[in-house]
């Protein structure tokens, strides 16, 4: 319980489900630990009784002493006291022991379930949610939930102790009980101050620290710039300024807490004095014994701390429930791209790909919310269901929002097709549909006559590979990265591929060659080098259909030509789809498809399309022709 990772009263407490619904879901996760938890509950109960009873023994002893008892007659009290000390220690330890098991196993289960759901989630989800937030679901929220379990058992102990203590106090005297109730408004006021001003100041500290962190991050990654321009003093000053600001906020917050913390003790003292006054007076009346006064002073202090803790526990529990709510969102997510292992295997013959009347649109935020409602029919009122239907209809009518609109393309089997168009024309979207990261809203995509939706993803990815503009590498060695799609490949195969690509040169120049461990997604490599590795990775996997989305955009001309040669050699006679910016790439292809605003506008080879003097001709002149070269030609 000591290791709670709570955001406490700062944490996000927004949620969409009722506590009842959430606790019910949580309970299902607790099933395997029913007996552990029952045992912990029993231990807690006994523990509470033991620690409450101890001061009563002392009270008893005091009264007997004042009555003139002998040591021998008090011996059993002493033994009982010792026994209870031992018992409370053992029980407390057992509670910690069992809770450690339950909490840690539970968080593991939750983490794995959440992880799996997220790995299988639709790409539209990943397109919408940043990887940092996805990770936060997997790592932080699950931890927060289990911390909540700890807080819950802790609260249970606190409630029991508070009640037992209060009972003892009222049992001695009504007045003792009333004095101890002073703890309630005190705790209310303190909680209010903390969650009001404390929270506001903590937020300031947080945002200020955030600025320091941002500046630090930026200046660490841009360190070579600061050095190059001799501006180290300046960045240092920048950090100093932010650092000073943060210190100021920290001091304000600290002052507040420094004022609050000792005030709890002060209230305790006032309550003890109250017990003494009343106890002394009542003792004179013969209503309470001296032992009971002592007991009152002990109990009244003991009442204060669980009450203070409970207020804090409550906010923590709210935070846990909010985390649980977010996790349930994930766990109840139903992937819309269903790809069962039992589906037919994709069988390639010619490798011909056909887009048949394909419409597609990325889901915007609002629509995501509607469709996430759709995923939870239990919580969806009929009214909302209708609203969703309306929305869908409306959105199908608004065809101008389509990223792809009635796209019909035949990518010839074994041939090379280039996709051409301005940014936003839909080129990349076509590649994503082909890899089934998304499904078309309407229309079909067929590979050798088989609908993409009817074949298993495994068999699809076995046959098709995509190399994108953004080279993504994993932490690990270069060798591991290249073998990512074919883990059982031999090192020699990797060397062979890299030799073909001309990538061996720079890889071997690295400190540990192919065994160099890449850090931060390969920050030490240039973009071109990273791209080379991703190309090698795909070539090693040796797919039957190759999709290249600006795959060589970051290479210099020379390397690019090597890649092209390797590609021609290794991928001769395979269906290839390229999106490229270099003329040399496009001129070689068998077919060019020109896209404009999501529609196919022209299809044909270079010569034919140039003659048309249409969109292709225009694009060619913007992107591929180079003004001013005429002058050079003449001048030289």
């Amino acid at each position: 319980m000591s290791r709670s990772r709570h955001g406490g009263w700062l944490a996000d407490k927004k949620r969409t489900r009722s506590s009842k619904v959430l606790l019910k879901i949580f309970w299902s996760y607790l099933q395997p630990y029913k007996f552990h938890l029952a045992f912990v509950a029993v231990l807690t109960l006994v523990y509470t009784l033991a620690v409450t009873y101890q001061p009563i023994i002392v009270q008893n002893a005091i009264d007997r002493l004042l009555g003139g008892s002998t040591f021998q007659s008090l011996l059993f009290l002493l033994v009982l006291y010792m026994g209870l000390s031992l018992l409370s220690w053992v029980f407390q330890s057992l509670i910690t022991w069992y809770m450690a098991i339950v909490q840690n196993e539970l968080v593991h289960t939750l983490r794995i379930d959440t992880f799996n759901k997220l790995v299988d989630a639709d790409m539209s989800y990943h397109g919408k949610v940043q990887s940092g937030n996805v990770t936060s679901r997997v790592v932080n929220d699950t931890q927060e939930i289990t911390a909540g379990l700890g807080v819950f058992t802790n609260s249970l102990t606190n409630v029991l102790v508070a009640f037992a203590t209060l009972f003892v106090l009222f049992d001695i005297s009504l007045w003792f009980g009333l004095v101890s109730l002073l703890a309630l408004p005190t705790s209310a006021i303190i909680t209010k101050v903390i969650s009001g001003r404390g929270r506001a100041q903590m937020l300031k500290v947080r945002s200020s620290l955030g600025k320091v962190s941002g500046a630090l991050a930026e200046n660490l990654s841009g360190v070579s710039i600061a050095k190059s321009f001799n501006q180290e003093e300046r960045t240092s000053r920048q950090i100093r300024k932010l650092n000073d600001e943060t210190y100021g906020y920290f001091k304000q917050l600290g002052t507040l807490f420094t004022m609050i913390f000792p005030s709890i003790s002060l209230i305790g003292m006032i309550m003890i004095a109250g017990i003494l006054y009343i106890g002394g007076y009542l003792n004179q009346q013969g209503l309470v014994s001296v032992g009971s006064i002592y007991l009152g002073t002990v109990m009244v202090r003991r009442f204060l701390s669980p009450i203070m803790a409970l207020a804090n526990n409550f906010t923590n529990l709210q935070a846990s429930l909010a985390a649980l709510d977010r996790i349930v969102d994930v766990l109840h997510m139903e992937a819309s791209i269903k790809a069962l292992q039992s589906m037919n295997k994709l069988v390639l013959t010619k490798g011909e790909i056909v887009f048949e009347g394909v419409y597609f649109k990325y889901q915007a935020r609002e629509e995501m919310n509607v469709s996430s409602l759709k995923r939870r029919p239990d919580s969806l009122a009929e009214e909302e269901r209708l609203k969703f239907k309306d929305l869908r209809k409306q959105f199908l009518e608004e065809k101008r929002y389509y990223v792809l609109e009635n796209v019909n393309i035949t990518f010839l089997g074994g041939k090379k097709t280039a996709l051409i168009g301005h940014t936003g024309a839909g080129k990349t979207t076509i590649t994503k549909l082909l890899l089934r990261f998304y499904d078309p809203l309407e229309g079909r995509i067929l590979i050798d006559g088989q609908d993409l939706k009817e074949v298993s993803l495994d068999s699809l990815y076995e046959n098709i590979s995509l190399v994108t503009q953004e080279p993504y590498l994993f932490a690990g060695t270069i060798m591991d990265n290249i073998k990512y799609g074919k883990p059982d490949a031999s090192d020699d195969e990797v060397y062979e591929i890299c030799r073909h690509l001309g990538a061996d040169e720079f890889i071997e120049a690295l400190p540990n060659g192919f065994q160099t461990v890449l850090q931060e997604s390969g920050k030490s490599l240039s973009a071109g080098q990273r791209q080379m590795i991703t190309i090698a990775r795909t070539m090693l996997k040796n797919p039957k259909i190759l999709v290249l989305d600006e795959a060589t955009s970051r290479l210099d001309a020379y390397s690019e030509s090597l890649v092209q040669l390797a590609q021609q050699k290794l991928f001769e006679g395979r269906t290839t789809i390229v999106i490229a910016h270099r003329l040399s790439t496009i001129r070689d292809v068998d077919q060019i498809v020109v896209l404009d605003k999501g529609k196919v506008v022209e299809v044909g080879d270079h010569e034919t399309l140039m003659k048309l003097k249409g969109k292709y001709y225009e694009l060619y002149n913007t992107y591929y022709a180079h003004q001013g070269l005429e002058n050079i030609a003449i001048a030289s």
Binding site: L78, T258, L276, V290, A475
Partner: protein
């Protein structure tokens, strides 16, 4: 810049005590007084009860009871003051260490930054330094306060109950501290491992989800799942282990037993008549007060331990030994930076690499010339530029400018005269103005506009809503690659270097942008030495000299006409340049 040095991590951590001694002394005195004030009520309650048993509900009893409130108020004031001044020192410590850390790390050469993951450095600078402060407050503070309370309590017991009881308490607390420290030592490595595992787990998850497209299309799901499961399981196992070690916390038992024993002895002495009931209540009250204040002690020990471990890690980074430290230069030599540059058998290895990134480079770069560099990835192009900027020093050979060895010139001096526009443009988040004037924050509006205009950047800056004051970066406007490049050029122009290095090796730009860039470059290269890594035909043709790099060596060095005539590699590259075919189609170049 504060460049304090420390003997080791511990010294770094305990430098806390040397930072603001007067204030610290003051807060320590207040802590002792606060410990006294904490224990007074327990004593007063005991005396009051004795008074009650002897004289009944007397005025003395009422005064004693009121004394408890008085003690409470005194406690409040003293504790507030003590905590406040201690807190101030602790937060200052955090602030200052953070600054020292950054300054030190920034001053390290690029070799250090190549070796170190910047996100790790960031988390050291933020989280680990915050944890160091936690080691001071609440950690060290809690431990010190507890120690003071224990000592004062033992003295009090000695005063009210005699030597035997005091010695028993002392023995109890020695055991208490012994086991508390033992426990902390046992649990600390597990804690550290937990923290590391948590970090790894986060990193792994982040990586998987950032690369989810790759994971999916290469069918890496199962592998990633198993990898994640392993680490999640490890984390869970460690968590259980930690919980179980923390469970049977011996110091707690010792404290409970000590209370029970003192209770027993008191009982005996009261029945013997050598002690009053009030004294017994005092003793029990003191022990209970101490139990409460010791409750957080294990946590405090962990804070302290973590802080020292972090301090050691921080210290290692701060005191990194540069394999090629800057020479201490007393007199900055007089150099004509417009002079020619000579490379004399220059060989350079990156740390840990067995193959030189540059091998045996010898060439002369004429003054105020235009040099173009061409070569494949890893051929040494970028390294060549980095050496010229003295971001690294060669292990063998010499670089001479105006006849002066580079190693005799301080890096800051080199960078006053040499500027680089790097391949992957790094812009700071902030306004465009701030970015352009980075090298010279005092630049006037006119100078900034002139630089931006020369870099052909004014054209797009003017179209932005706030012009030069438009915020760019994460929270600002997104710029295209060409725009970023032109801003970087403007930044370099404003620095007005004698030697300009430009890495322009990978760029797919439309022809209009390229035209603009070329104009910017022409402006830039007028009247200074420019060295450009390029693959643009025009730049090659315009260059006075072209260096062809291959595998860290200079394959050939000459102008376009010479190279096209004699160098097969150059002919090959030239043919492959995207513009060549077009230009050839228009009537040939050669």
């Amino acid at each position: 810049m504060n460049q304090a040095t420390y003997k080791n991590g511990r010294a770094l951590f305990f430098s806390f005590f040397q930072r603001d001694r007067l204030r610290l002394l003051w807060s320590l005195i207040l802590m002792v007084l606060s410990s006294v004030a904490t224990l007074i009520p327990a004593v007063l309650v005991g005396i009051a009860i004795d008074e009650l048993t002897q004289n009944g509900f007397s005025s003395t009893f009422i005064i004693l009871s009121t004394g408890v409130i008085g003690a409470g108020i005194v406690f409040y004031v003293i504790t507030f003051l003590g905590l406040y001044s201690f807190m101030t020192i602790a937060f200052r410590f955090e602030r200052d260490i953070r600054q020292e850390f950054f300054d030190k790390i920034q001053s390290h050469s690029l070799t250090f930054h190549d070796e170190n993951n910047s996100s790790h450095l960031l988390s050291m600078g933020m989280t680990e330094i915050s944890q160091m402060r936690q080691g001071i407050m609440p950690g060290l503070r809690g431990i010190l306060q507890n120690l003071f309370s224990v000592i004062i309590m033992i003295i009090t017991i000695y005063a009210i109950a005699g030597r035997e009881m005091a010695l028993a308490t002392l023995a109890g607390f020695i055991l208490y501290y012994y086991f508390a420290l033992y426990q902390a030592r046992k649990i600390n490595p597990i804690r550290m491992e937990l923290a590391n595992t948590a970090g790894e787990m986060t990193e792994q998850s982040q990586e998987i989800f950032r690369g989810i497209e790759v994971v999916r299309s290469f069918r890496g799901e199962l592998r990633e799942f198993l990898r994640f499961k392993t680490i999640s399981e490890k984390y869970s196992r460690l968590g259980i282990k930690e919980g179980q070690i923390a469970a049977f916390y011996l110091p707690d038992l010792i404290l409970l037993l000590l209370t029970a024993i003192l209770f027993g002895v008191s009982l005996f002495q009261v029945t013997e008549g050598t002690m009053t009931v009030g004294t017994m209540i005092q003793i029990l009250g003191l022990l209970i007060t101490l139990q409460l204040s010791s409750m957080m002690l294990p946590q405090m020990f962990l804070f302290l331990n973590a802080a020292i471990t972090n301090a050691n890690r921080l210290w290692e980074k701060m005191h990194w030994q540069d394999p090629q430290p800057d020479k201490e230069v007393e007199i900055i030599p007089q150099i004509n930076w417009e002079s020619y540059i000579v490379f004399e058998n220059v060989t350079f290895y990156y740390t840990g690499s067995e193959r030189p990134a540059l091998a045996n480079i010898s060439l002369i770069i004429p003054k105020k010339s235009k040099i173009a560099i061409i070569g494949g990835p890893g051929s040494g192009k970028s390294t060549f530029l980095k050496l010229l900027l003295q971001l690294y020093l060669p292990q063998e050979g010499r670089i001479l400018i105006d006849g002066v060895d580079y190693t005799d010139i301080p890096a800051s001096e080199v960078r006053k005269h040499v500027s680089r526009v790097e391949q992957e443009i790094f812009l700071f988040s902030g306004t465009i103005r701030e970015n352009i004037s980075f090298a010279n924050p005092d630049a006037t509006e006119e100078e900034i506009i002139r630089a931006a205009t020369a870099a052909q950047a004014m054209e797009f800056i003017e179209k932005l809503p706030q012009g030069l004051d438009t915020v760019i970066g994460e929270r600002g406007v997104d710029l295209s690659g060409g725009q970023r490049q032109r801003l970087a050029i403007a930044r370099a122009i404003l620095a007005n270097p004698d030697i300009l290095l430009l890495d322009d090796s990978a760029s797919a730009l439309d022809s209009k942008t390229e035209e603009l860039l070329r104009k910017a470059l022409d402006n830039l290269s007028a009247d200074r030495l420019t060295i450009v890594v390029t693959q643009r035909l025009r730049t090659l043709l315009d260059a006075d000299k072209i260096i062809i790099f291959k595998k860290g060596r200079v394959l050939d060095y000459g102008n376009h006409r010479e190279l096209i005539g004699r160098c097969a590699e150059y002919q090959r590259i030239f043919e492959l340049l995207p513009e060549t075919e077009k230009a050839l189609a228009k009537g040939g170049i050669v």
